[in-house]
Subunit: 411 residues, 2 copies
Amino acid sequence: MLENMFKAAREASYELMNINSSVKDKALAKIAELLDKNRQLIKTENAKDVAYARERGISQGIIDRIMLDDKRIDGMITAVHEIIAQTDPVGKIVDGYKRPNGLYITKVKVPLGVVGIIFEARPNVTIDAAALCLKSGNVSILKGGKEAIHSNICLGRVIKEALKGSGLPEAFVNIIEDTDRALVMEMLKAKEYIDIMIPRGGDSLIKFCTEHSLIPLVKHDAGVCHVYIDEFADMDMAVAIAVNAKCQRVGVCNAMETLLVNEKIAGTVLKKLETAYAEYNVEIRGCEKTQKIIKCVPATDEDWATEYLDYILSVKIVKDVDEAVAHINRYGSQHSESIVTESYTNSERFLDRVDAAAVYVNASTRWTDGGEFGLGAEIGISTQKLHCRGPMGADDLTTTKYRIYGHGQIK
Amino acid sequence: MLENMFKAAREASYELMNINSSVKDKALAKIAELLDKNRQLIKTENAKDVAYARERGISQGIIDRIMLDDKRIDGMITAVHEIIAQTDPVGKIVDGYKRPNGLYITKVKVPLGVVGIIFEARPNVTIDAAALCLKSGNVSILKGGKEAIHSNICLGRVIKEALKGSGLPEAFVNIIEDTDRALVMEMLKAKEYIDIMIPRGGDSLIKFCTEHSLIPLVKHDAGVCHVYIDEFADMDMAVAIAVNAKCQRVGVCNAMETLLVNEKIAGTVLKKLETAYAEYNVEIRGCEKTQKIIKCVPATDEDWATEYLDYILSVKIVKDVDEAVAHINRYGSQHSESIVTESYTNSERFLDRVDAAAVYVNASTRWTDGGEFGLGAEIGISTQKLHCRGPMGADDLTTTKYRIYGHGQIK
């Protein structure tokens, strides 16, 4: 059903690969301009999604993620301008040398080609993903969820108008205007036409893509993040970080889900945290030792592997930094992990031994973010080791090509 | 069945990740030493594989790939010494900065963890793959084909002895000593324990892995490579390159399978090539226009997508560089592609527009190789865009980790 769109995308990718940065940036500026001009239309279409969500009794949290108001439209416009301001990764020579046989070899960043993105809820992803792909010379094929279908179609048309207004083919950005789940399967099998697939969403989406995709994936999966309070921690700092990592925003992947506390200081610090968390109505699920110190629900083995995305926290008391590391490597999702300590040795041991995208000493896990890392807008946070790990920006939407200059060399 | 091996591999990976280069290099030197000491044993075990292959009437080409003699054992020893001489990629700080909030962020290369490799025929892959993984701090799990099972088991035991002799856990390198195909499936599903899978082999192996793997793959697939002789080519150079790319070694992925010739010079150059190829008994399968110039078999549409790995060549006459590029992007396997031309404009157009791992001007496609590119030993040549493209060395057996130093930063 989508094959014609896929074929056109592949054809267009050969053109987009070779377009100069200035042309791409002009088209991005046009997108920003038309987002501003079409505010009323965007809000009207978005209201349909919100109304439909209310009808279906969708939770307020998700309705909040769907909703677009002027402030959020401003946010999308700002994001596009930030992407314009970034350096185009395409054409960067990352390596190069003259070989003994006289061949000049250069290794150059080039676009991936065609990027498929499957996402849920937030309609602003349509703009972020299309803009990042355009910046990095990739044709995008976007499939949003049914919760925001009116908004996504409307934003897609704004982008198409901007491309047309910039004299570029509309096939550079493709929005699947149909919410049929079968189309996800069709994307995952289209390995002739799509170079990578980026699924952004809940567990079931990621699992489905992993099981069925014939196309390489970059997954943006769950975040089961930990803070470990070491015996040598500064107690005030530990409390501040543990509260921030859990409570500053609970519905995000870099929020803490499990707190690990060294047994030597567990009594003091857990008492302080009990009071602090009470202010946010955090439900604490503790290990046996924790249950003896503060009032809490008993934690099950399942709790250690759960991403609550809510005001719930599991707490485990551990013997030392090694037990903390082992727990994190066993139950964590390799996203963001932090130790609070004044011990130099323990901090280095934690940084060395925890296997995750981002490991922190004395800072909140909440910092893991493309913007906060200075990478500009991100298309998500990769929780896999292949291709890119952590915040994924325009730079990670490229591959490389060896360009080799000879003068008749044969082997 | 293999779960205990996988679990032990995962556990061992946390240890291997943090071992210094000097320790790893000492273990590699021990492998080289024991390969030399165990020559007789290796040849005896290998003879069983060769005898069994003869019994089963396996082709001489494959028997040649299985066979280990002193020269080949020397080759394996040399490869290990070359890997020792390479720089350890682990620990390289690839990026770093202090953020406005005072966080010091460093992005560091770290091992992938556990690498699964499935390969066919050549037993030397056991040594190359194990050595490259060890160098880059990865635990390896190797599954060779049944054609070389005695050799692989023997080489595996040599490696284990070397690890033991160096005081390192044997679980750093794991050889699956069973040829049951079901075990491939078991590897592909073990996503809790294996971080990446590298299949090296024929079409059916790659297809099987793509369809069933729950683990990210780096594929080492077919090479349908082209040489395009432009109207502005130096004719002597064009003939030399076209002969070298096809005939110097036919059974390798970077050999040319299809020759594209500009219509303006097709008459001259094809006549010369007809004579040159006759010396190697190359069977030519030509397009309609080619059939009018030289004696050849008619090429079918299937020919354009076929990796012959043999003294067979398909030939197509094209109008210009753009038609050549379009043909390559449609039928090629994104491996190695070359243009022969003296036209600057056409050379740049070809380099820009052909979508492949390596694109050449005035050189044979046969150069695509980790050693020839100065990358050291390679674990294969990646034909995908994700993670790494082209020759895959120790450097590509890493991922990254952000190590972040704070002093209480909360969001």
